[in-house]
């Protein structure tokens, strides 16, 4: 009797071992995949910093080599410019601008949405108290970035046009200094640059909300991949999104810890990060609104002659659904 039980237990144990080995193989088929990844150093990319800190990329069998960039625009430009990059983090505006000329990249998911990230900050001593005071003023923006588009929207809602202001093209991280030095009267940018600029100006800073106080712009922050890489590494992309998904789950469950990790990673004061943390909705998605936003921006660019193109591109060609559908099917709501 005992022998029978022993034999049965051995068979069960063997079975469990075989099954666990098989599961392991299924988890990470093939060797460790290396991805060269350009990341904007901002709060928006928090899921990436969390996944990096918690080792989720390694868990998914990925060797992620991160290259830090000042802005998503610069990161995308570098990838499209032939730099050895497989993937970038970037907001919709640079994606839109590049879509008029290039078709060799695709969005695999948006990692965060925010309607409060991009803001307009001005100097009080330049006589700016509300949006109408912007007429004729020097406004610093990173051309071709979401800041640029937001300024356009902001002015439209304030019955002004882009041509009514003097736009000065400045790199994102240099904007706070430019505002402090008085080279510009106001800046339009995203965090942490607005917070940094506020600190530099102190009481001389004035934050200008959009007219009526409405949230006029939803900023989406995407993972954009090189199409060549995408076609050759569909499995790696799934694993990548799984790691990001884990990062986002961690953020939902551990707000304080997440703020700590991001502040240390970006070398920004923890309190500062905490003050804007709730402005971001961290969740992977590919929704219909994303397409509409891209098209809306494209139409804006055409209307304002920021591009030579006259036709809005078909953004379905710039979206890769399979990876996210595999990782988080209910997050894909693009009509199809």
């Amino acid at each position: 009797m005992n022998r029978k039980i022993m034999s049965l237990m051995l068979v069960l144990l063997f079975g469990i071992l075989i099954s666990s080995c098989t599961q392991q193989e299924e988890k990470h088929p093939g060797s460790v995949k290396k991805i060269t990844f350009a990341v904007e150093t901002s709060f928006l990319t928090a899921p990436v910093w969390i996944a990096e800190n918690k080792g989720y990329f390694q868990e998914e069998g990925l060797n992620i080599k991160i290259k830090e960039f000042d802005s998503g625009k610069a990161a995308l430009a570098a990838m499209l410019g032939g730099e050895d990059l497989d993937m970038v983090t970037v907001a919709q505006t640079p994606v839109m601008f590049n879509s008029f000329n290039r078709k060799d990249y695709a969005i695999i998911a948006a990692m965060v949405c925010s309607d409060k990230d991009v803001k307009l900050l001005a100097r009080k001593d330049r006589g700016i108290e509300n949006s109408s005071d912007l007429r004729g003023k020097k406004i610093g923006v990173t051309k071709g970035s979401t800041g640029h588009f937001y300024l356009g929207l902001f002015l439209t809602h304030s019955d002004l046009k882009l041509s009514n202001v003097d736009i000065i093209d400045i790199g994102a991280s240099a904007l706070p200094q430019a505002l402090r030095d008085g080279r510009v009267d106001a800046i339009c940018a995203w965090e942490p640059h607005i917070l940094n600029a506020g600190k530099l100006l102190g009481e001389n800073a004035v934050f200008l909300p959009p007219k009526g106080g409405a949230n006029i712009f939803r900023e989406d922050f995407y993972f954009v991949v090189n199409k060549n890489f995408m076609e050759n590494n569909p499995e790696a992309l799934k694993r990548f999104l799984k790691a990001i998904q884990k990062g986002e789950e961690f953020i939902q469950k551990n707000k304080k810890k997440s703020i700590g990790i991001v502040s240390r990673r970006l070398k920004v004061d923890k309190e500062l990060v905490a003050s804007v943390w709730d402005d971001f909705d961290f969740q992977l998605l590919l929704d219909q609104a994303m397409l509409m936003t891209l098209e809306d921006e494209a139409r804006w660019a055409i209307e304002n002659k920021l591009t030579k193109a006259t036709e809005v591109p078909n953004y379905l060609d710039y979206v890769y659904l399979d990876a996210l559908e595999d990782v988080k099917a209910d997050a894909v709501t693009i009509i199809r």
Binding site: E295, N314, I335
Partner: protein, 817 residues
């Protein structure tokens, strides 16, 4: 029908009811699921139509390629869905609605395609600046088509909503139906269960009640009663059996009177039995009392036996019982412990096997004596233990009798081995004590005679000297005087040796390097040992310094070397070796007589005849000599022993006959690292004085006379006194004007030291020379050493006295100048 069958049927009924209920529930559940699937499909259609609407609106606004593509994708997806739903088992009632939706779907597709074509055409006309009327027509057509599309999609939606609502209602109805079925089924099952249970219980309990009632009546004596149970089950059978039993009882029952008579008889018999029982009980009590008494006796016996057993087992005495053939019958644990044999070994042994061969004869004789019935008291014998150890015992042997016949001997012995050994050891120590006392006596004797003896010898030697001065050296008288001189010298040497070995001679310890002593002594030793013997030295150049009396150390080396010489009549080699030795705790046991510390070892080895053990054991005894009579005093090695001991060292001898001898002397190393400065003596050519004034204090008249004569002959002015008092008188009279005081240490009215101390207090520059035949107090010697007084041991040589005086006076002159 049997009760068991009844119960089985009841259980089966319940099972069938429950299965039926479960079946109904499963079927209903399947039906509801089907409806839910239908509902889901309808919802999906709703979602798709909504999404188509959104895209349509977007397209109408922007006419983008993306909208076109998405619209077509969605349209295609909706078509597939409709097809799939129709294929599934849709309720026939819903099919017409589905048909209508499908028809609208097609019209919607046509409208969108037309819209697209119309827009493309209009765009082309605008780009090519075509006719405005055509453009307007196109715009009008677009409006119609939009209306048619919106109408159709609206119609589709309303139909789908209607269908959805119908399905929802069906689901709701089905659920209500299921609930009712379940409720009624449960109620039915409960009612049925109650009825069937009631009937079954009644079928069982009714006959039981009849049986109870019947048995009660029969129990009261009515054997005529019949139990009326007509069922054919187990109860019926039981009732039949009961009735049969009642009938049998009726037949076998006797009358009550007969029973009463029998009862009385039984009571009488019973009383008789009780009387007998009481008698039995009394006897039984007696038996128990006897039994208790027996038990008490037995317990006393056991206790007594245990006491004796314990006594024999715990005692340290040897107890043994021996059979007539000598084999062991019994031995106690002490026996095993002392002799070390095991029980199995004992069985194979005879008592004579453990008796020492020397005691065997006597023991056999005693054994036979005991076997003949005698008791042997207090005899001593020696046994041999298993490990070979000799066990000396004292004891008694008694015969063991049985019916007047000796059947064994019983021996009771005490192990006295340790006591005997202690007695032996005690004897040895006593011998040593006697030896020590003997030495002490000799020492005391030597010390006693030394003073007078040395005084006499001083006189003899002095007068011999003076006589020789006045005698022709070639005359017979001169030769006779020479003989007297030699004899006096030997007598002086003998006295010296006696004082040395008895340790009465004061020592002049200085820091000394023995290597230098040996080197200085070599010339004299070579002369002593003669030409046939070679003398070698192996001296450690790093040898430690010792605190020693150099003269005595020379004496030691000389005595052993002379002994070695005498042991090598045919020549040989003597080796003198010095080395440093550190003795640690672990080495202590390997070197006899040793102790822990730093030592200088002086070894003197010869290749002579060697010594046997007996000689070695007696070699340091005074007057023990292996030499022919007259050739040795027998004090040489005793002196060596005495000197070494006074130096707090020890000496070990290693020798075997024919193998030569080694004497190893261990002397403690000094803390000082440097040897004391040796006074270099300058040769004095002229021993005569220069009329220096000398006060001679000597209680021995003969010495005094000889000394005065000697000194005056050598040109000194001599004043003499026989005691302290006279000496002080002369000293005061002459105002202390003396160059030298020569005083004996032992005066009749005090000591020489006391005297000279007084004189020095008056004249600190006074030179002192003390003499004595024997210093009985070591402290006096310490004072002499401390104060640095010159001292001459009697009997002194004449030239030694003159030389000493000369040196002292020369020192005085040198210091004055």
């Amino acid at each position: 029908m049997k009760i068991k069958t009844n119960l089985i049927l009841l259980a089966m009924t319940f099972i069938i009811l429950i299965v039926t209920l479960a079946f109904i529930m499963v079927r209903t559940s399947e039906y509801i699921n089907e409806k839910i699937r239908e509902s889901n499909a309808v919802n999906k259609i709703t979602k798709d139509v909504f999404e188509l609407n959104i895209i349509t609106y977007e397209y109408l606004e922007y006419h983008g390629k993306r909208m076109q593509k998405q619209w077509l994708m969605k349209y295609d997806s909706l078509g597939k869905l409709l097809k799939a739903i129709r294929k599934e088992k849709m309720h026939p009632e819903h099919l017409p609605v589905l048909e209508s939706i499908t028809s609208d779907y097609k019209i919607l597709g046509d409208s969108f395609l037309k819209l697209q074509a119309n827009y493309t055409e209009r765009k082309r006309l605008i780009e090519k600046k075509g006719s405005q009327s055509k453009i307007n027509t196109s715009l009008a057509l677009e409006k119609r088509l939009i209306t048619q599309s919106l109408f159709k999609s609206q119609k589709m939606l309303s139909e789908i909503f209607k269908l959805s609502a119908t399905i929802e209602q069906e689901i709701s109805r089905s659920q209500e139906k299921v609930n009712s079925i379940i409720l009624f089924s449960i109620i039915g099952i409960i009612i049925l269960s109650v009825c069937v249970s009631f009937l079954t219980i009644k079928a069982i309990t009714k006959p039981i009640n009849k049986l109870i009632k019947g048995t009660t009546i029969i129990g009261k004596g009515n054997l005529e009663h019949k139990i009326d149970v007509r069922t054919k089950n187990e109860m019926g059978q039981l009732a039949d059996s009961f009735n049969k039993m009642t009938k049998d009882l009726q037949e076998t029952t006797v009358s009550i009177d007969e029973l009463r008579a029998t009862e009385q008889q039984l009571r009488a018999s019973n009383q008789q039995l009780r009387a007998s029982e009481q008698q039995l009980r009394a006897s039984n009590q007696q038996l128990r009392a006897n039994e208790q008494q027996l038990k008490a006796t037995e317990q006393q016996l056991q206790e007594s036996e245990a006491r004796y057993r314990n006594l024999i087992e715990e005692t340290h005495e040897i107890i043994q019982s021996i059979a007539p053939d000598g084999s062991f019958i019994f031995v106690n644990p002490a026996w095993f412990k002392i002799f070390g044999y095991t029980e199995s070994e004992l069985k194979k042994m005879k008592v004579f096997d453990i008796i020492h061969p020397d005691s065997l004869g006597k023991c056999q004789e005693l054994f036979h004596k005991v076997m003949s019935g005698e008791t042997v008291d207090s005899f001593e014998t020696t046994f041999v233990a298993k490990n070979g150890k000799h066990i000396i015992v004292e004891g008694t042997a008694v015969p063991r009798l049985q019916v007047g016949k000796v059947i064994a001997t019983q021996g009771f012995f005490r192990d006295v081995t340790e006591r005997k050994e202690a007695e032996k050891e005690k004897g040895k120590i006593q011998n040593q004590l006697i030896q020590s006392q003997k030495m002490e006596a000799i020492g005391t004797l030597a010390a006693g005679v030394a003073h007078d003896f040395n005084n006499l010898l001083t006189t003899i030697q002095g007068n011999v000297y003076l006589a020789m001065l006045e005698t022709d050296k070639n005359s017979t008288v001169a030769k006779d005087i020479e003989e007297i001189k030699v004899a006096a010298g030997r007598a002086a040497s003998l006295t010296q040796q006696l004082l040395l070995f008895s340790k009465k001679q004061p020592m002049g310890f200085v820091s000394l390097n023995i290597n230098r002593t040996i080197e200085n002594l070599m010339k004299m030793l070579k002369r002593l040992i003669g030409e046939d013997i070679t003398i070698n030295t192996q001296l450690d150049p790093e040898l430690w310094i010792i605190d020693a009396d150099e003269v005595n150390i020379e004496q030691v080396i000389t005595n052993i070397t002379v002994n070695a010489r005498d042991a090598m009549p045919k020549g040989g080699t003597i080796t003198l070796k010095t080395e440093n030795i550190i003795i640690e705790e672990k080495q202590k046991d390997t070197i006899p007589n040793s102790r822990v510390g730093r030592f200088v070892r002086l070894s003197i080895e010869d290749t002579g005849v060697g010594m046997d053990k007996d000689t070695i054991s007696r070699i340091f005894e005074p007057f023990f000599s292996t030499k022919e009579s007259g050739k040795g005093t027998g004090l040489g090695m005793s002196v060596v022993y005495g000197i070494v001991e006074q130096h707090k060292g020890w000496i070990n001898v290693y020798s075997e006959p024919g193998q030569g001898s080694i004497f190893k002397i261990y002397l403690p190393a000094a803390t000082s690292k440097k040897e004391a400065k040796i006074e270099e003596k300058t040769q004095i050519s002229n021993m005569s004085g220069d009329n220096e004034r000398i006060l001679l204090v000597e209680d021995d008249e003969a010495i005094c006379k000889f000394a005065i004569r000697l000194l005056e002959n050598n040109n000194y002015t001599v004043f003499s006194a026989g005691n302290k008092k006279d000496a002080m008188k002369i000293f005061k009279k002459e105002n202390g004007n003396f160059d030298l005081i020569i005083s004996d240490m032992v005066l009749t009215d005090g000591t020489g030291i006391d005297l000279i101390e007084k004189m020095i207090s008056n004249n600190p520059k006074l030179k002192i020379l003390l003499t004595s035949g024997y210093l009985d107090e070591k402290s006096k010697w310490s004072i002499i050493k401390m104060k640095g007084y010159k001292f001459l041991q009697k009997p002194y040589e004449i030239h030694e006295l003159l030389e000493t005086i000369r040196r002292l006076l020369s020192e005085s002159k040198n210091s004055d100048s």
